[in-house]
């Protein structure tokens, strides 16, 4: 819709002064009203002066070689609803194309049969002719019925109207519906473009973030390697023997270096998981092997914290899984369980056949502090640290372990779940399908 400047005209004098400025004029408004303001303001008609306003009417082009039908349609559209439609007319395809080149129509109503072609020819020419913003087209016909309608829709028309059924109401409704449908599809197309751009931008950001993590990790871990090695050299007597106290301090320093390394590794792993860059290496894996390795991994921590860790249930089966990754999950769950358990309590890793023997459920249960109900839905989020857990233990880490465990379990087509009660304990559990040999 061309916009014409809104000029609130009160008197001729004001018009004269406003006319001194440049105002864009729609050259194609020959069939409606126009302001011939470029030539002689004094000769401007009263009607023109008083009707300068922003034109919100739908601009419609009627294309038909029957002048009586054109007049009838103009009356249908502009009779009682002069404020709704503004109408141009054309009798041939070539005339219609000229007008389309000069105006931005909101809708075209085109007779199926024209002197220089068909209505569908006009639509095809507009589509392939380099016109921008091709408006929605409605084909009208006095004969042809469904075949004509089908051909019209296939050619790109949005609707079809039989001349026999045309009246003021049907014509207006068909035009309004066509325009609304067209605007919706334009809006959808625009949204799709914006989404595509947003996706491209996100992908670029993801790659940049990955690169950033790699760079940061690399730049930190090399000096960390040097620091760790110097401490280790001192421990090993490179500059003389250390006493017990000095040795202990050196060991604490080395433990801190290892903790930093672990957290950087977790950070990178999380990034890789989120970017879909972590690949599993699945193989037939004995469950007892998974269980043994996992329990061994927390043996030292359990001894220090005086927590008993033991395993119960079925282990004499195999699963198709990435063994290192499942051990990583189980070790993480056991590590958390031990960390947040009271002294002289039990942590249990249970394995139980389920789903009629087609699956095995791994479950790590502790009798620790538990997780509050309002935190349970967030417990697998990155960087989540339970407030209750923070108050119980100072060694919280980056908070990525459970998020990583969840991702790894999902990569194995399963779900990591939680049952918990405050001050009673928690159970984290997931299922894996048994190797087909065991079913």
């Amino acid at each position: 819709m061309k916009i014409i400047n809104n000029i609130p005209i009160k008197n001729r004098g004001q018009v004269t002064s406003l006319l001194a400025t440049k105002i864009p004029i729609d050259k194609g408004l020959s069939n409606t009203w126009s302001m011939n303001i470029a030539s002689n303001p004094a000769k401007m008609t009263l009607a023109n002066q008083l009707t300068c306003s922003i034109d919100t009417r739908l601009l419609v082009l009627l294309v038909d070689d029957d002048p009586r039908y054109l007049m009838l349609c103009k009356r249908y559209l502009c009779g009682r609803n002069a404020d709704k439609f503004s109408v141009h007319t054309a009798g041939t395809i070539s005339e219609a194309l000229s007008l389309c080149g000069l105006n931005n129509y909101d809708c075209l109503v085109i007779d199926y049969v024209l002197p220089d072609g068909t209505g569908t020819d006009l639509i095809s020419t507009l589509s392939s002719g380099g016109f921008s913003n091709i408006p929605p087209a409605i084909i009208t016909t006095s004969a042809g019925g469904e075949d004509a309608a089908t051909e019209a829709i296939r050619a790109g028309a949005v609707d079809y109207l039989s001349k026999r059924n045309a009246n003021s109401q049907s014509l207006q409704r068909t035009i309004c519906n066509a325009v609304e449908k067209f605007q919706l599809s334009q809006s959808l197309a625009q949204r799709n473009i914006e989404l595509l751009d947003a996706n491209r931008s996100l992908l670029k950001n993801k790659n940049e973030i990955m690169q950033f993590y790699h760079t940061v990790s690399h730049e930190v871990k090399t000096p960390l390697a040097a620091a760790r090695e110097f401490i280790s050299l001192a421990q090993d007597g490179a500059e003389g023997e250390l006493n017990d106290g000095q040795n202990q301090l050196m060991q604490l320093a080395i433990d801190s270096c290892d903790q930093i390394k672990k957290q950087f590794t977790e950070l990178l792993e999380m990034t890789r998981l989120e970017n879909g860059k972590l690949e599993l290496e699945r193989s037939d894996t004995p469950v007892d092997n998974l269980v043994r390795r996992s329990v061994t991994s927390v043996a030292d921590l359990a001894r220090i914290r005086k927590v008993r860790v033991y395993q119960v249930g079925d282990t004499n089966v195999e699963v198709l899984a990435d063994p290192d990754r499942i051990v990583q999950v189980l070790s993480n769950l056991l590590h958390n369980a031990v960390k947040f358990s009271k002294e002289d309590s039990d942590v249990v890793l249970s394995t139980q056949l389920c789903d009629s023997g087609n699956q095995i459920e791994f479950c790590v249960t502790d009798s620790g502090c538990g997780i509050a109900e309002d935190e349970r839905s967030s417990v697998f989020d990155r960087l989540f640290q339970s407030e209750h857990q923070r108050s119980q233990s100072s060694a919280c880490g980056l908070g990525l372990g459970l998020a990583i465990a969840k991702h790894i379990v999902e990569l194995h087509d399963s779900v990591l779940k939680l049952k918990s009660e405050l001050n009673v304990g928690s159970s984290f559990y997931f299922r894996l399908a048994l190797n087909s040999r065991n079913i």
């Binding site: 790699h214 990790s217 090399t222 000096p223 390697a225 040097a226 090695e229 090993d236 590794t265």
Partner: protein, 128 residues
Amino acid sequence: MKKVLLIEDDAKLSLALQMRLKMMKYDVACSVDAVRAMDEANRHQPELVILDINLPGGNGFVVAERLRKNISTMSTPIIFITASEKPEYRQQANNIPQSAFLLKPFSAAQLADAVSRCLNDDDEVYEL
């Protein structure tokens, strides 16, 4: 004493590793970049090369390729060391025969294990 060529551009880590290797009773030569690495290899004829992957003047894999093309070092075991966890680095190292891979920071025990295995078993690829 067996000779080890250490190619590492970080001065402090290079010093720490030199001290460690000397404690392990190896004769250590050093280079700080890919360009001078080949000169040092030709001069010292090492029995083992410990090679950082991210080097000034070209990465460690380029150096490894040159070492393998050089008659005097074509069978010399290489231990690749890196702080980067890019999976493609590990894969590329796996493709080079008689090589091992260590991720920084590594312990003295891990380094000793890698060195000992590289110098004792020439035909295997060791991945750590």
